[in-house]
């Protein structure tokens, strides 16, 4: 695959910015525009940019984990978040609010649906990785070309 230097470098730079943006959308989503789904989509777009620049190998370098591991983790996180309230005698998916004091940042309020959103985020990212893994290989010659080659 022929790589274009400018595209390559600019994607390297924007990729991390986009990742941070997507995580911002994920965390801010509960009170402002955003959320796990949009965050996942943005992260997925960033990954597909990497693909455009460097092909499948470049994408596989993004994550140490296999696409299906990310996808499965997302489902498990969402399922656990949904199930935990039951252990405390609440209905499934009952939302609750935690107030924490973190160093540097100070006081934060964390609503439990955030974890569910993290699950959604991971599923979307995993899905994009899987599509690229499935179809993003070196393109096969189109059937017409195959016919021409055979003829």
């Amino acid at each position: 695959m022929r790589r274009i230097l400018i595209l390559d470098r600019s994607v390297r730079i924007t990729f991390h910015a986009l990742q941070i943006g997507s995580i911002f959308l994920l965390f801010s989503g509960h009170n402002q525009p955003g959320g796990g789904f949009v965050g996942g989509l943005v992260a997925g777009s960033a990954v597909s940019l990497r693909y455009l620049a460097g092909g499948l190998d470049e994408v596989m370098r993004v994550s140490r984990f296999a696409p299906w591991t990310i996808l499965g983790t997302g489902i498990v996180v969402a399922a656990v978040t949904a199930a935990v309230p039951v252990l405390f005698g609440d209905p499934v998916m009952q939302a609750s609010l935690f107030e924490l004091t973190l160093p540097v940042i100070g006081e934060v309020k964390v609503a439990s649906p955030l974890f569910f959103d993290v699950g959604v985020y991971l599923v979307v990212v995993g899905l994009v990785l899987m599509v690229i893994e499935a179809f993003g290989d070196e393109p096969q010659p189109a059937p017409e070309q195959l016919e021409e080659a055979a003829g």
Partner: protein
Amino acid sequence: MSALLLLHAVLGLGTVAAGAHLGRRALWVTLVPMAVTLAWIGSALPSLLDGEVREAHAGWVPAMGLGIDLRLDAFGALMTLLVSGIGVLVVLYARWYFPATKEHLGRLAGLLTLFAGAMLGVVWADNLLVLYTCWELTSLTSYLLIGNDHRDPRARAAALHALLVTVTGGLAMLGGFVVLGQAAGTYRLSEILERAPSGSNVTIALLLVLVGVGTKSAQYPFHGWLPGAMAAPTPVSAYLHSATMVKAGIYLLARFAPVYALTGFWRPLVTTVGLVTMILGGLRALRQHDLKLLLAFGTVSQLGFLAVLFGLGTTETVEAGCALLLAHGAFKAALFMVVGILDHQTGTRDLRELPALGAGWPVTKLVMVVSAASMAGLPLVAGFIAKEAAYASVADSGLGARAWILAGLVAGSALTVAYSARFVWGVLRPAGAVSEEGAAPAAEVRETPPPALPFVLPGLVLAALTLVGGLVPRLLDRLVGAADAALVGVDPHTHLALWHGLNLPLLLSAVTIAIGASLFLLRAPLAKVLRTGEVVPSGGDVYLWVLRGLNRVATVVTGVVQNGSLPIYAAVILLFAALAPVVTLFLGDGWTGWPELVDHPGHLPVAALILFSAIAAATNRRRVSAVLFLGLTGYSMAALYVLQGAPDLALTTVAIETLSTVLFILVLRHLPVRFERRSTPQRRIMRLVAAGAVGLSVFVLALAAGGSRTAEPVSQEMVERSYPDGHGRNVVNVILVDFRGFDTFGEITVLAAASIGMVALARAGRRPRRLQVEEPAG
């Protein structure tokens, strides 16, 4: 009663599961529930005969009014006696019939238990749906029992034949049951028969029920499966295919006929089918050399007889039917047992090859002669009593066609006499005598080991009952009379008796026996005449034709419906999706008029952009450009959201459109550049029409949906509850992860499943790449 059914089910399933370890001992387990049921019905019999009705209920799906309603009256008691009584004897017999090393005997024993339970369920069920369930369970167990020797392809084919025919009939019957249940407002059989709904719907329902009856009870033209079912081991044939399961149809007929016999088509239809079955079955029986097949066609014939008697539905015919039901159960099971013994001891059941039987066989011969006499309806045995009652009941019925019916019954019975005589002669003939035209004379007394006494004992018990019933019909009278009263609601005035004086029935009996005897004596010329019957297709042939025809139709229909063209699939689906809701919308009063179409000047350019890109996407010939235009539609929609003040919706849309366009193109690289290699104007017009129809329909539906709101929108409440309940100010997100969290969870699960499937498909498609041709150089 529920406990007894449960006992059958648990022991049956247990025996099937543990069968391999139990071996022949499994049959003792089978004996338990049958014997318990027999003891129970025996203790309950006196009160049941006095007209008591026992009921039991257990909830099933209360919301649908579905309950396991059981009801036992005197007729049910008679059937229970048949099912459990003959069951006990058959199992005892099977203990001697099967070698200890017989394969799958445990499974067979367990299936017999399950069958007995299902059959009791048919007889005891008062809810039509419960009855149907048990009915199909008998079909299923019968299928497994016929195919018990699963390595024999003929057994498998016969099992499938039986299953297809009876289950098809059962399905028709279920349709009839549902219509009847809806018409009557209840699925309780007893209440339906009490209310006796009528009307053209009910007429069709009754026809459907009769189809079920006809298939189960092997009436022409559905009878073909019964002779095939003789592939089952003989104890199974003796139990299922003569004494019990085939009586299930007769049982249902008996329940319905007293109430519905006067419905226009009922009597002509049932009587004609019954008589045809009786006579053709008898003719076929005359042609068989295999004793088991002879008995099978004999059973078909007798089932026709029973169908006529019960189908007429008068007090007297039903009484005669009940008597015949008992007599037939006893003699046919006993005869099957005799055939099994012969087969077991001599290794053949062909009339022409049976050796002459030497010493040690008198008990078997006695059983056979008594039972065959009962089948032929000779005096002093139960069959005679039943046949006399049948003749008398039809003669006195006052029906217009009684002469014809009587003639048919006499003809059928004469045939029965003839094939009974053939059966007896074939087995009893002395050494050297020829059993059949063209057959070798019986072999000199080959040392045929006589059967052990316990092997013959169950048959002997049945023969004894046959004799007692024939000599002292008063013993039968109470049971038969009470069963009749339970069915018809009126106590019969007539009574079963050996001697009614010199009257028409006696004369007819004499004529029957005379014709039958002469048919037997003239069997050599008769055989030649009968051989012409070979031209007539048998039930099995008809079944095969139907099956082949069905396959051919299925091929044609599949070819038309599933033509494999993606554009046509898409066009059909889309056009229906577009037309159906719009048509409904305008047929009803869903259309509320045009709303304000433009309420912001910015809408106009955005709408123009959407229209342009949509039309461009639909008309473009290249896949990639079409997808790009599709993305443009999405971005324009996002602009619309911005104008309407929904930034997060716009954000999500932009992200989705970006990503899906990229993913689309990833996939499209693997496809040809253009949609079609040569696009014709007709196809483009077709596509434009489909696309236009879908677009218009969605447009109209969206307008109608927006204008038809009458209730308070739910979004108001969600906005209010968002922060206090969901701890979030972004309502959309709170809805996604909290209020509608279950939906979201379902969606991400679907996403995961879809992507796994996608990867699997893509990888499967990639495999042949190794064989890929080399790219041509240059």
